[in-house]
Every structure is written in C-alpha cells, then in structure tokens.
C-alpha cells in the first residue's frame, strides 16, 4: 500500500511540476482572493488581524476546491482508469497517494498564503509560525476528505460545480477547527483542544477513505 501511495503521489506531483498549473494559476488565484478580501474588509489593521484566521481558511478552502478538481481531472483523463485497473493497484494506496500529493500542493500554497496573511492582514510573524502546525494538520485533513469527495464528484455531469456542494458542508467543521486553532495560536486560547479535534477528524477520514475508496473506483 505504501509503495503504491508513493508511486501515485510521485506521478501526481510530476504532472503538476510539468504543467505548472499550481504555480501559474492556483497560487495567483489564492493571493488575488486574499487581496480582494482584504480590500472588502477595509484598511483597519486591528480588524484585518482579528479576521485573518477565518479569511485565510476561506481562501484556502476555495483554493483546495480548484486543486481537488484538478487532481481528479488527471485521474479521469482517457485510459488512466483502465491502466490503474489493469495494473491491479491497491485502491487504498491510490487514495493515500492522491491525498499525499494534494497535501504537498496545499502545503506549498499555504506557505504563500501565510506570507500574504502576515504582509496584507497584519498577523504577527511569530503568530503565523506558531499556527503553522495546526495549518498543516488542517490541510492534511482537508486533503484526505477532499480526495474522497473529489472521487465521488469525478466523472459526473458538471463535477466542478458539484464538488463544492458536496465538499463545502464537510469542510465546514474543519474550517471552524482550523480557524479556532489559528486564532488560539495568534491571540492565545485552547489550542490543544482544537488540535485534538483535527487529529480525530484526520484519523476518521483516513480510515473511511481506506475502506471506501475502492468501492468508488469499482467497475
């Protein structure tokens, strides 16, 4: 399973490195969304600092939807599903691999967005650094859940519009836990409690994904 996971993750990352969609399309979209939100909120440093954790996660969720769609589009290109079936790859490994690639892509985007949050929304740098483990945990859970929802929405009529309908309600508790843990890291609060919730959510989604991903890809 681990070997398959690493193979799939490497394949997805290689495709991403060659196409550069993340670099030229997704990251600029995230930065633009952050700037627009900053403009909408107004110039007050106190207000933007207070709202920064929530705004950061709203942008991250929007970016993740683009990346999930892209990750599944790669899987649905002609011949890919047949090749995976013919190779007899372990579906749990495919699931972990896709989630891992998505996690790495989201982590890279998060670094850029965190820099944006420090520069544009006036979050102190040490606050952003303290919040980074909780951000990593949140995007790990989002990657796992997103891979699952992406597979559900893939190959139907209008997957790009269906995915937000399916994934956003499921992302809502993660967004709350992520925002609370980020805010706790910046202004102080019960950080451990929110980290525990995120770890539990990650374990549940990984377990469900390992069990059910194969059923989605069954032919």
């Amino acid at each position: 399973m681990i070997r398959t996971a690493l193979l799939v993750a490497a394949k997805d990352l290689r495709i991403e490195a060659r196409s550069r969609v993340l670099l030229w399309q997704v990251v600029p979209f995230g930065v633009m969304a952050l700037l627009l939100i900053g403009l909408a909120v107004g110039p007050s440093a106190t207000t933007t600092r207070h709202l920064a954790p929530g705004l950061f996660y709203v942008v991250l969720v929007l970016v993740s939807l683009l990346m999930i769609n892209r990750s599944q589009a790669v899987e649905n290109s002609p011949g890919t599903k047949t090749s995976v079936t013919m190779l007899g790859l372990d579906q749990a490994g495919v699931f972990i691999g896709k989630a891992l690639a998505l996690l790495l892509e989201l982590a890279m985007t998060s670094v850029v967005l965190l820099v944006g949050v420090v520069l544009f929304l006036h979050v102190p740098l040490h606050g952003a650094l303290i919040a980074s483990p909780s951000v990593l945990l949140t995007i790990a859970t989002m990657s796992v859940a997103g891979t699952l929802y992406g597979a559900i929405a893939a190959g139907v009529d209008g997957p790009a519009t269906l995915l937000p309908v399916l994934a956003l309600p499921a992302f809502a508790p993660l967004l709350i836990a992520g925002e609370r843990s980020f805010a706790s890291a910046v202004i102080g609060g019960a950080l451990a409690k929110w980290l525990l919730i995120l770890i539990l959510a990650l374990i549940v989604y990984v377990a469900i994904g390992i069990i059910l991903y194969g059923a989605l890809e069954e032919s």
């Binding site: 699952l148 559900i152 929405a153 139907v156 309600p169 508790p173 059923a215 989605l216 069954e218």
Partner: protein, 239 residues
Amino acid sequence: MKLFAQRALGPVTLVLLGLTIWLGIWVTPPDAVQGNLARLLYVHPAVATVALYLSYGTATVASALYLWKRTRSMTLDRIAEAAVEVSLVFIVLTLITGSIWGRPAWGVWWVWDARLTSTAILGVLALGCLALRRANDDPVVRARRSAVFVIISAINVPIDHYSVEWWKTLHQGATVFNPGGGLKVHGSMMWTLLLSFVSFSMAFLWLLRARYRLSERQYQNTERALQEALDQRRAEVTN
C-alpha cells in the same frame, strides 16, 4: 395482513398526528415559564429526532448494506434515496420550527449556535446527496457513489447530537433522554411529547414507503421505455 398494515399506515399516521395536535393545543396546560410557546415542543424535538436518527440512520444503514457485496441490491439503494429525501424534509421542518421558537425565546430567527449550524450542515449534505444522484446517469455508479457519500456525511450526525455538550451554546441540552437520567417533563405534557415521537416516526415510515414506491415505478417506467425502444428498433430492422 401485510397488505392491510401497508394500507392502514397512512390513516393511522393521520389519526396519531391529529391526536398529537389535539393534545398539544387543547389538553396540555401552558408551561409555567414559556406559556403557550412550549407547545412547539410537541413538534420540534420529535421532528428533529426523526430527521437525524431515524431518517439519516435508515439511509446510512441501507447505504452500508448496499456497499457490502453480500447484501447489495437496488432495493437498498432506493430505500437510501427515499430516506435521504424524507430526512431533508424533516431537517427543514426542524429548522423552521426551531426558528419559530427561537424568535420569541431568543429574540432572533437564527443564531450561530453549534446545534443549529450542524443541523443546517446536515441539511446541505442531504441536498448534496440528491444533487449527486441527479448528476449520474448510470444507476450502478449512482448507487455506489451516493452510498459512500451518505456514509461519510453521517459523521455529522454524532457531531450534531453531542454539539450541545461539546459547545456550551444557546440551544438547550437533552430534556427527555438526558444523560443524567430522570425525566424533566411531567404528566400530560410528557405523554403528549412521547406521542409526538411515535406519530412523527409513523409519518416518516409513511413518507418513506410512498417515496420508495415512486422510485420503483420510475425504475419500471424506464425499463419499459427502454424495452419499447428496443422492440421498435427490432421491428424496423425486420421490416
């Protein structure tokens, strides 16, 4: 006997719902603190219980059984579809009755309370499940994907249940089935409340059966139309 029970389901449900309304409005006394506002409690908790546990529970169990190869059948898929639809109806009713109670009690139609928000999220998830079903043409793929989706989205049910304990917010904790034991409702109010659980559960069964039969007829119509098209094509080729 089975046919009689099926036919009696509707009338019995209507009688029970009528009895609940009669007891709730005319027989039970007004509450000492909330006055007549408390009469909404003969609808809201029962509707919420049916939405969260009975309807979504049925959909989850049917979906899990569908995914298990030994028990896989399209009947289970149709039961899950019907249960999700009925669940959505009851979730909407839960939110509406909760809002009607919340306006005079809390002063607002909606608050960002953990219980309210998690119930609304469950409603959107049920809506998402129905959207997913309509976006798939292949019945087998549709059944499989919606089964997986229902199981994942069922994670929200325990979150909704324990939200009043995990987050200390406006919505009150469990009154009838409270963790500390001991009933907090008495006399005719208690019996009316319990009756409301029975009558709304019967309403769920009635609606579930009606929606299931509709799915079955839709399936039969599709099959018939396909067969007719095939026969027509064969006749054209023969002639």
